[in-house]
């Protein structure tokens, strides 16, 4: 059961990610990203992190991706034209990505022996536990991130405003 669900949503995520790469029009890649995020949310559920799954849906898929879609729609830039600007990207980038993947895989497989297996029933972290840790041990980071977001809002407004000087 767990395996089935995991496989379905893993494939969904991978397909979304690959689609993100292949799609020409940004709106499509945005939507494929939303698919990836929601499949990840389900994977979180499989891993027992309920609140996190819902937060992922609401925050990531619901808010951030909306922003992305809005910007894509508003700018309406259209398809990416095929400029193959940087040669180094190809010659250096791909091997590097391959090497990275190889490294991750190697470390995970080599070190993975002593990781346990995951099943549906065990270890569901309730929101109480989550909030206990969040608001007791890590209150300061929590407040800091809220300040960070405030600054981000101010920044976004200042940057995106029509008459802020340039152009």
């Amino acid at each position: 059961m767990h395996l089935v669900l995991f496989l379905i949503f893993a494939i969904f995520a991978l397909a979304g990610a690959v689609n993100l790469l292949l799609q020409k029009h940004p709106i499509n890649s945005a939507l494929s990203l939303i698919v990836v995020m929601s499949s990840l949310a389900v994977l979180y559920l499989l891993l027992g992190a309920e609140f996190l799954a819902m937060a992922q849906i609401i925050v990531y898929a619901g808010a951030i991706m909306v922003l992305f879609t809005f910007v894509v729609m508003l700018l309406n830039e259209g398809r990416e034209e095929k400029t193959w600007g940087s040669r180094t990207a190809k010659t250096l980038g791909f091997p590097a990505a391959a090497v990275l993947l190889a490294i991750f895989a190697a470390t995970i497989l080599r070190a993975g022996r002593h990781y346990g297996t995951i099943s549906l029933s065990d270890g569901v972290t309730t929101t109480q536990e989550l909030s206990k840790v969040l608001f007791r041990d890590l209150l300061l980071p929590f407040e800091l991130t809220s300040v960070l977001i405030l600054i981000a809002i101010l920044g976004a407004v200042a940057l995106a405003r029509k008459d802020n000087g340039e152009a």
Binding site: G85, S86, T88, A89, L92, A96, V99, L100, T107, A111
Partner: protein
């Protein structure tokens, strides 16, 4: 033996005091006071020397060495002090220096009457006396070196006395630099002595040499040759004589004092003083003798054609010094010193007489425009005649005795000695010829310049002339053997066992040679105006006139190459290429790296991303090298890399 009230240090210090007084305050003092100071201090020092001479005559045992002398340079085991010492040789030299020195001071008062910088002249003169007396009184080589360089400085200052005359400045510079080359040799000798004996005091060195320390002959010869180089520098012998003729730019009394009587004899004195060293290396002695003879002969040939009266005397001095070196070379040090003394008397007289002639003719120095001064300047004429006779070596005069002694000593030195003797004889012939040529051209015949009102010099100039004339005549009567005996303790007795008959024969021959010289001069210059004979020898005459182009040779093969190397090799290659080049290279490299990196920063976002990914990959490999390769992680890789 402690100093029995001889006040040795005072002898040099008094003239130094005179120098200080005149030097610092001279420009403000009236002329009379300046000349008073200039005369009083040398006189006082002469008095001290005379008193010392009297005490020696009254039986004071020499040598007198000052032991508790103040220390000068003390470093590690080397201990050099201001030690002064008086022995027979020093006494003779002091007598000559201070005696003749004082006379010349007296003469200069008259001669330099209306010169600007009057006080500066006398200050330098006193400074010279201070250095010369230090040189002679020094008990160790380094203090002698002090005197050595000091007199070089004094001669530089005095030659360059007429500051507005460029030729005087050049001559002074030339004199000092050439002397400096000689001093270089002397310095190397000092180091060699220091290296081998550990001390520079004459007494200690003599002691070391007495005990047969295993010193190789080679080093001894090397030391002697270096000392010889120093001597030739100072006494203007073959390689380094070029400065003396130019030194005539200075005022005549200076030439008289420095370039005739005292300074140039320093070289001879030094060889005599270090005779213990020279005796141990026959090769060095041979070199000295050969140089002496060669210089004598060479200088005499050049003197024969000179037209400037002072140049003639200058070359004659070089020639006479050649004789003294010849004497030393054959081991007759006492003969050399004896000739030195007599030469001081008559050469100083010659110069001073020439000075009064020039003074009389208000600065005229060219003999071709003189003549017929016999009547206008009788005293100068008679004193000059005495000097000419003395130098040519006629019988009763001083020159005969000393020159004869030298030739005799040379004669007894075997085959080489005989050859040297013949050269000496020929030089004697030439000497008498050019002296009488000078004599005729200046005094005899008619005056060759119309508007001329030659007047006799004032008495203050004439008295020294007369005293010197007396000395020139009577100087030789002391006799070689008595003089040799007096100097024996210092210079040792020469081994010339020639019998009386040969001696007599030699001296007769010498007088005949002198007479022959006179006759030739008389035949050429005696009858007024006929110089046809000399014109005929055009080509050799031109060679001689140009002094064998020696000066030009020196300039060409020493001065020009150094300048060329300095300006082009060092200046261009050394400075510009190496020093500036290296700095420019560094800048270039930095610029190059900058250029190379600039291209890497292309602004292309995706190439940055590629580099980022690559770097991350490499870093991960590096960090995880352990787990991946099983080598054991981070520490190993780091330590491997650093080792």
């Amino acid at each position: 033996m402690n100093d029995p009230m001889l006040f040795l240090p005072l002898i040099p210090l008094l003239p130094f005091l005179g120098f200080l007084l005149n030097g610092l305050l001279g420009s403000r003092l009236p002329k009379a006071l300046v000349s008073a100071i200039a005369l009083v201090f040398p006189l006082a020092s002469f008095a001290l020397v005379a008193r010392a001479a009297w005490m020696v005559h009254a039986g004071l045992a020499l040598p007198v060495v000052e032991h508790d002398a103040p220390a000068w340079i003390v470093s590690g085991a080397m201990h050099i002090g201001f030690g002064l010492a008086l022995d027979q040789l020093t006494l003779v030299m002091l007598l000559v220096i201070t005696g003749v020195g004082f006379l010349i001071h007296l003469y200069s008062v008259g001669y330099m009457e209306h010169e600007t910088g009057y006080w500066r002249y006398f200050a330098y003169l006193n400074l010279f006396l201070f250095f010369m007396t230090t040189l002679v009184l020094a008990a160790n080589f380094l203090l002698m070196f002090v005197g050595w360089e000091g007199v070089g400085l004094a001669s530089y200052l005095l030659i360059g006395f007429y500051i507005d005359r460029k030729s005087a400045g050049d001559a002074g510079k030339k004199a000092f630099v050439v002397n400096r080359v000689g001093d270089f040799g002397f310095l190397i000798a000092i180091f060699l002595l220091l290296g081998n004996f550990g001390t520079l005091n004459f007494s200690e060195i003599a002691a070391h040499l007495a005990a047969p320390a295993g010193l190789s002959g080679g080093t001894i010869t090397l030391i002697c040759l270096c000392l010889l180089l120093g001597a030739t520098g100072k006494s203007a012998q073959i390689p380094l004589y070029i400065w003396l003729p130019d030194a005539m730019e200075g005022p005549t009394p200076v030439s008289a004092l420095i370039h005739a009587a005292t300074m140039v004899t320093a070289g001879v004195y030094m060889i005599a003083r270090a005779h213990a060293l020279f005796d141990l290396s026959p090769t060095a002695l041979m070199v000295v003798a050969v140089i002496g003879a060669a210089t004598a002969f060479f200088a005499a040939t050049v003197a024969m054609v000179q037209t400037d009266i002072k140049r003639v005397l200058a070359y004659s001095t070089i020639s006479q010094l050649g004789y003294m070196f010849l004497a030393c070379g054959v081991g007759a040090y006492s003969a050399a010193v004896f000739h030195l003394m007599t030469h001081a008397f008559f050469k100083a007289l010659l110069f001073l007489a020439a000075g009064s002639v020039i003074h009389g003719l208000s600065g005229e120095q060219d003999m071709r425009r003189m003549g017929g001064l016999r009547k206008e300047m009788p005293v100068t004429f008679w004193t000059m005649t005495a000097a000419v006779l003395a130098i040519s070596g006629f019988f009763p005069f001083a020159g005969f005795f000393s020159k004869d002694a030298i030739l005799a000593a040379a004669f007894h030195q075997g085959a080489v000695g005989k050859a040297l003797w013949t050269v000496g004889l020929i030089t004697a012939l030439m000497t008498s010829f050019y002296m009488f040529r000078l004599w005729y051209l200046t005094f005899m015949g008619k005056s060759r310049t119309e508007s001329r009102h030659a007047h006799e010099s004032p008495w203050i100039m004439l008295t020294p002339l007369m005293i010197l004339a007396a000395l020139s005549v009577s100087g030789g009567w002391v006799g070689m053997d008595r003089f040799g005996a007096f100097l024996a303790p210092v210079t040792g007795t020469p081994a010339n066992a020639g019998d009386a008959h040969v001696e007599l024969m030699l001296s007769v021959l010498a007088v005949l040679v002198a007479a022959a010289g006179w006759f030739v001069a008389h035949s050429i210059y005696g009858r007024s105006g006929s110089q046809s004979m000399t014109e005929s020898l055009a080509s050799p005459r031109r060679v001689l006139e140009n002094k064998y182009w020696v000066d030009e040779l020196y300039v060409a093969c020493v001065v020009r190459p150094i300048e060329w190397i300095a300006r082009y090799v060092l200046g261009w290659i050394g400075e510009l290429v190496l020093v500036r080049g290296s700095a420019w290279l560094m800048a270039g490299i930095a610029g190059l790296c900058g250029e190379w990196l600039r291209r890497w920063q292309s602004g292309n976002l995706r190439s940055y991303a590629a580099w980022l990914a690559a770097a991350a990959a490499v870093l991960l490999i590096f960090v995880l090298a352990g787990t991946l390769l099983g080598v054991g992680g981070f520490a190993q890789t780091i330590s491997w890399a650093v080792r």
